[in-house]
């Protein structure tokens, strides 16, 4: 997912969780959940993560196991869910679906052969946010009183917009595209065990002496979620070309290249569909016992998978900090 070529240009630094105390992070919900859907299921039996009806519940396990980390560091997450799929992305969605179908075939094949490791790997790739996952994720967040926002289109774009307006201190995503959506500060690796990585838009622009619009053009030349990029142009070349020719169109003209819908792709980053119609309360007061029975009883998740997570959430949220009295 996203634009890995941008990593070579992004200004990244490690930040300590301790320094994030009391901050708000707008988390790209799809991106965050996807990590848990792919890693939770990996190397394990699928039976644990589906109900007797065959519904997937790995998202619920992911939420319960992933949230404590935020609360233990007093970092408030606001999850931003994707809205309708952007028209231009249809191609990629179709392509992903095709890849997934292929992976599913290979998975059935591997299962037949009794190749468990290959099957587990393929299963990770066939994960997707089904309508059940969409619904149960929101219901569990409601019970845990964790705020979320519905984006009109791209969750990343909405999260970046909220951060630009100052309603969130950071965007949380693994995707380097948050830079192109204008997220001032992005926290990466929120699901890993170590400290997160901080990606700064201003520092990235300063480092390469680019304007934000030029960075978007560099991104489009390298390829984004919405376009495949121009053959033979990597991040360094794209940087050089944009500096030399001023913008995307100058580069394309000089090279005699063409990017389909270039105008509209640019617009999607520079002026994406976002909404002001959101509000959220960062004072989280969860109903742990209701959440527990939702996950364990209603959705048949093995208590062992989530008990520790619930305890950690409860513990983190009932402990106050001394800064409340200073």
């Amino acid at each position: 997912m996203g634009n890995a070529a941008l990593r070579q240009l992004a200004a990244l630094s490690e930040v300590s969780f301790d320094d994030l105390d009391g901050r708000v992070v707008a988390v790209d919900a799809h991106n965050w959940l996807y990590r848990y859907l792919t890693t939770t299921v990996k190397w394990t039996r699928d039976g644990v993560y589906t109900t007797s009806e065959g519904e997937e519940v790995a998202n619920l396990v992911g939420i319960v196991q992933g949230l404590p980390k935020f609360f233990e560091h007093d970092l408030v997450p606001v999850f931003v869910f994707d809205g309708g799929v952007t028209e231009l992305k249809d191609d990629e969605v179709a392509e992903r679906r095709e890849q997934r179908e292929k992976a599913e075939e290979m998975l059935a094949d591997a299962q037949e052969r009794g190749d468990h490791i290959e099957a587990a790997r393929l299963e990770a790739r066939t994960q997707r946010l089904t309508s059940v996952i969409q619904e149960t994720s929101r219901e569990l967040l409601d019970l845990l009183d964790v705020p979320y926002v519905e984006a009109p289109a791209e969750g990343e774009a909405q999260a970046a917009y909220m951060a630009r307006r100052g309603d969130a201190d950071y965007v949380g995503s693994e995707d380097y595209d948050t830079l192109l959506f204008g997220a001032p500060l992005t926290l990466r690796q929120l699901t890993s065990s170590g400290n997160p990585e901080l990606m700064s838009l201003d520092e990235t622009l300063d480092e390469h002496d680019l304007t934000y619009e030029q960075l978007v053009d560099v991104g489009i030349l390298c390829g984004t979620d919405f376009n495949p990029g121009v053959d033979g142009i990597g991040p360094k070349t794209a940087l050089k070309l944009v500096r030399e020719h001023g913008d995307l169109f100058g580069v394309l003209e000089a090279r005699g290249e063409h990017v389909e819908f270039a105008d509209r792709i640019r617009e999607l980053f520079l002026d994406p569909p976002v909404t002001d119609e959101y509000e959220f309360d960062t004072d989280v007061d969860p109903d742990i016992s209701a959440a527990r029975s939702y996950v364990i009883e209603e959705w048949e998740v093995d208590a062992d998978e989530v008990e520790r997570g619930f305890e950690r959430i409860d513990d983190a949220l009932s402990q106050t900090g001394l800064d409340r009295w200073t």
């Binding site: 105390d21 409860d314 513990d315 009932s318 106050t320 900090g321 001394l322 009295w325 200073t326």
Partner: protein, 247 residues
């Protein structure tokens, strides 16, 4: 400039009280006292320590600040026998601390104080109840609570004029009741707060068993624990943030 001689046991008591909360700290080498203030990374427990110049065999300092790795310094202090004297001398040039204990010389590399977490502001607390209790009583209550729960309640019963150290477990409960006769002093007021036992256990470890502990308490307020060491010339105040009591 810093040059001091101190008994190993006083130095160890001072270091222990801070190391239960943080791994590194700044030490202020003031003219009339050595001072440390630190808060744990989660902002839940704080220590405010001073050791008067009079607690040292000799003490000369001019207000500098050094950063130290506490476990390293504790290890070195651990090389001394109880009656031994520890010589400390700061080399301003190399930013190293020379430590000498009975013929053993150790040169300790210091940490840049700017790289250590900022010293916290002390919470502004006006706590309604004050209990002065022997360290052994506190220790007994904490041990009992630890048998049943991860949390510990500290409460004053104003009517009975008693201090309670209590804990509710999943199945078992404990309550240590201390009346006026058991306590050194009690100034009753509305006081009932719940705390993480992990923190309180660690703080309790640093409190010498013969110490008198002054406990200042409120309702869902941080607790202040004050005690002295080094023959009354070392002063420690712990502050611990409460847990919100559910239901």
């Amino acid at each position: 400039m810093f040059q001091a001689i101190v008994s190993a046991s006083t130095l160890r008591d001072a270091l222990d009280s801070v190391s239960v909360l943080v791994d590194e700290c700044k030490i202020r080498l003031n003219e009339d006292e050595l001072a440390i203030r630190a808060v744990d990374p989660a902002n839940v427990g704080m220590v405010d320590l001073t050791l008067d110049a009079a607690a040292f065999e000799s003490y000369e300092a001019d207000g500098g600040v050094i950063g130290v790795n506490l476990s390293r310094l504790e290890d070195i202090a651990g090389m001394a026998n109880t009656g031994d004297l520890v010589h400390l001398e700061l080399d301003e040039e190399t930013r190293k601390l020379h430590i000498q204990i009975e013929g053993l010389s150790y040169t300790l590399a210091l940490i840049d104080p700017d790289s250590i977490r900022q010293e916290p502001d002390i919470p502004d607390l006006d706590l309604p109840a004050t209990i002065v209790v022997e360290g052994t009583h506190l220790d007994r209550g904490i041990k009992a609570a630890d048998m049943v729960s991860d949390h510990i309640g500290l409460r004053v019963d104003e009517a009975d004029e008693t201090f309670h150290i209590e804990a509710e477990g999943d199945t078992d409960d404990v309550d240590l009741e201390l009346g006026r006769d058991d306590l050194i002093d009690l100034s009753a007021g509305p006081a009932d707060s719940l705390f993480s036992l992990d923190y309180l256990k660690d703080m309790n470890k640093a409190i010498p068993s013969d110490a008198e502990v002054t406990v200042e308490l409120g309702e869902e307020f941080p607790v202040k624990l004050h005690y002295e060491f080094g023959e009354g010339m070392g002063h420690v105040t712990y502050m611990l943030a409460p847990r919100i009591q559910s239901d």
